[in-house]
Symmetry: C2
Subunit: 332 residues, 2 copies
C-alpha cells in the first residue's frame, strides 16, 4: 500500500525557506491539497493545485498518476497538519511542529512514534509492501536539523533550484546556541532529536516503519527528508535494511549530499530515472532544471508502479495528462 | 480486517433511551473508550471502562479478546463522535448525528457515504474479509427510525433488558408528524432516510460495505443497528449477499424482531452461540439476562476469531480475564 504522511511545521512560515507553495499563506493549503489530489484527483480545500513561487506544480500529480496507472491502495496519514484534508484519512493526533528557534519542535514525538508503530503493526498485517511518502512544507530544514543533531554533516535538498542552504545552516547555528548542543549531541537518541528539532512526520513515519519491518518490506518514498527518518531509525536502534525510493532530481542535486548521507546511513537508494525534458509543459520540463524535484512520495510512487509492472514513461505520460486536465479545470 | 466504526447521535441525550453508559454524561465517553479498549486494552480518555446503568461492562472486552486471541488487523473509523479516541483512527469527517425531533439527523449523509465508499474501495484491496462493527450510543433508535422510513415494521433491540420500545415508537410518531412521512416513505432512497432520521455510522458503514463488495466478503458485525445498514444498502440498490454476525443475545431478544427483519432484508445471519451463564462475574453472567447483549462488533469479532480457528469458548475465557484485569486496574 501507499501511505502519504502529511504534516506541517512552523518553520514553513520563515520567509524564503520553503518553496512548497507560492507564499507562506498559500503553503497552509499545500498539505491538504496534495492529499486531495492524490485521493480524488482534484483539490477541494483550495481552488488551485499547489505551485512553487515560480508556478511549477506539486509532484502530487506524479503520485496520482502512479496510483491511477498501477492501482495500488492508497491511504493518507495526517499527523499535525494546519488544515485537515477533505478526504478520508488516518489521524495520528498531533500538533503541527513548532519552530525550534522558539520552542521544542515536537514535544510529543515519543507518543506519536509509539502510536504510529502500533498503526504500522496493524497495517503491515495487510500488505507485504509499505511505500511511505510525505508532504511537509519546510520539512527539508527540520530534516537538516535532525541529521545534524544525530551527527551527519551533509546538506539536504530543496524544492527550489536555489537551495537556501545558508539559511538552513543559520537556523542550525541558532538552535545549537539556544539549546547548547552540537553535531551528534543526540547520537543514539533519534526521537530526542525529533522532539527538539524535527517535525511530526519524522516521528510518525519512523514509527510506522518500525512497526512494519517485521512483516513487510518498507520503502521510504522521498529524498533527504526520508534520510532524516532513516537517521531516526538508526539512532533508535534499527539495524536492518532501510530502502528509500526517490526521483533522479534528488540524486542529481549538487546543492545537497543525498548519496553520501545515504551511504553513511546504510540506506539502499532506488533512484527513479524519470525524464521530463521533452514535456510540452514548462511547469514539468523545469523539473529538469531543479525546480520542485520530489515530494508527496512521487519517486516512491513511480518506483511502486514500476514494481507492479507499469513503466515510468507510462506514469509520466499520465502525469502530463493529469496536469493538462487540471490546467483546463478537469479533475482526473 | 476488523473495522470499528464509532459515531454519536444527539438521540443518546434523551433520558432513558440509551443504556450505553451509566448516564448521559458518561455516554459521551463510551465511544472513545470502546475504541481505546479495543486498540490498547485500556481506556485513556476516561478513567473507567464503559458500563451500563446497572454496572455491566461494555462488550468491547469481547471484541478486544477476539483480537488478542486471533490477532486480526484492527482499525478504528471515526465518523462524527463527540470526542476523538486516544488511538490512531481513520477519520471520515462528520458532525455527530442530530436529534431528528429537532432537525434532519445527518445532513451530509450522501457525502459521508461517498467518502466511505472510496475508503472501502482502498481497504478492500488489502483484505478479502472486512468485518465491520459499530459503537453508537442511542443507535438502535436511529436504526428503528430508518427501518420504519424504509418500510420495515419491526422492533430493534436495546442494550437494556427493558427495551424502551414505547419511547422509540413515540419518537417515530413525532418524526412522522414533524416531517409528514409514513412507513416506507423513503423506499428506494436509503440515504435520504439516513439524512433525515439516521446516524453517521449508517452512512459510513453502508458506504464502506458498498465500496468493498466487489473485492471482499463483508460481515456486518452487530444486531439490529446493522439491519438498518442492510436496509440502507438494499434501498440504494444493492442486491447481492449481505451477511451479519451477532451474538445470540440479539437473536434471543423477545422485545425485538431480529430474525424476521433479517429475513425481510434477505440478510444471512451468523448467530454466535456464546455462553456466559457460568461466568464468575455478575457483570458478564448478566448478559444472559439480556443486559448489554451486543455492540462494538462483539458478535462479529467472535465470528471472525472462530473463522480464524479460535473457538468461542477461548475468546470468552480471554474476555473474562480482560475484565478481571480491568477490575483490578491492569490493562490487557
Amino acid at each position: 500500500m501507499f501511505l502519504l504522511c502529511i504534516a506541517n511545521t512552523e518553520l514553513s512560515k520563515i520567509p524564503n525557506l520553503s518553496a512548497a507553495g507560492e507564499n507562506p499563506e498559500a503553503i497552509r493549503y499545500t498539505v491538504p491539497s496534495d492529499a486531495e489530489l492524490l485521493f480524488w484527483g482534484k483539490c477541494l480545500t483550495a481552488s488551485i493545485l499547489p505551485l512553487d513561487p515560480e508556478g511549477h506544480p506539486t509532484p502530487a500529480i506524479f503520485t496520482r498518476a502512479a496510483y491511477i496507472m498501477a492501482n495500488f491502495p492508497v491511504m493518507v496519514v495526517r499527523t499535525g497538519s494546519f488544515l485537515p484534508p477533505a478526504c478520508p484519512y488516518i489521524e495520528i493526533p498531533s500538533s503541527p511542529g513548532s519552530n525550534p528557534l522558539e520552542k521544542p519542535a515536537v514535544e510529543e514525538a515519543k507518543r506519536i512514534y509509539s502510536w504510529a508503530k502500533a498503526l504500522g503493526d496493524h497495517l503491515s498485517s495487510l500488505d507485504s509492501l509499505m511505500v511511505i511518502g510525505e508532504s511537509v512544507p519546510g520539512g527539508t530544514t527540520s530534516a537538516f536539523l535532525v541529521l545534524k543533531a544525530l551527527g551527519y554533516d551533509g546538506m539536504v535538498s530543496s524544492a527550489s533550484p536555489n537551495n537556501p542552504s545558508n539559511l538552513k545552516i543559520k537556523i542550525w547555528e541558532s538552535c545549537r546556541k539556544r539549546y547548547n548542543i552540537t553535531e551528534g549531541t543526540f547520537c543514539n537518541k533519534g526521537l530526542d532529536a525529533v522532539t527538539l528539532l524535527g517535525d511530526p512526520m519524522q516521528a510518525t513515519v519512523a514509527g510506522m516503519a518500525m512497526g512494519s519491518f517485521n512483516k513487510s518490506r518498507v520503502i521510504l518514498a522521498g529524498g533527504t527528508q526520508m534520510l532524516a527518518v532513516a537517521a531516526v531509525l538508526r539512532h533508535e536502534g534499527y539495524d536492518g535494511d532501510i530502502e528509500i525510493a526517490t526521483t533522479k532530481y534528488i540524486a542529481l542535486d549538487k546543492s545537497a549530499h543525498f548519496a553520501s548521507l545515504a551511504e553513511n546511513l546504510r540506506v539502499k537508494a532506488h533512484v527513479v530515472p524519470m525524464d521530463l525534458s521533452g514535456s510540452a509543459y514548462k511547469g514539468l520540463s523545469d523539473y529538469e532544471k531543479g525546480y520542485v524535484k520530489e515530494g508527496v512520495g512521487a519517486g516512491g510512487a513511480l518506483w511502486y508502479a514500476n514494481h507492479l509492472g507499469v513503466p515510468t514513461e507510462v506514469v509520466v505520460n499520465a502525469a502530463e495528462q493529469i496536469y493538462a486536465n487540471l490546467l483546463g479545470g478537469i479533475s482526473s
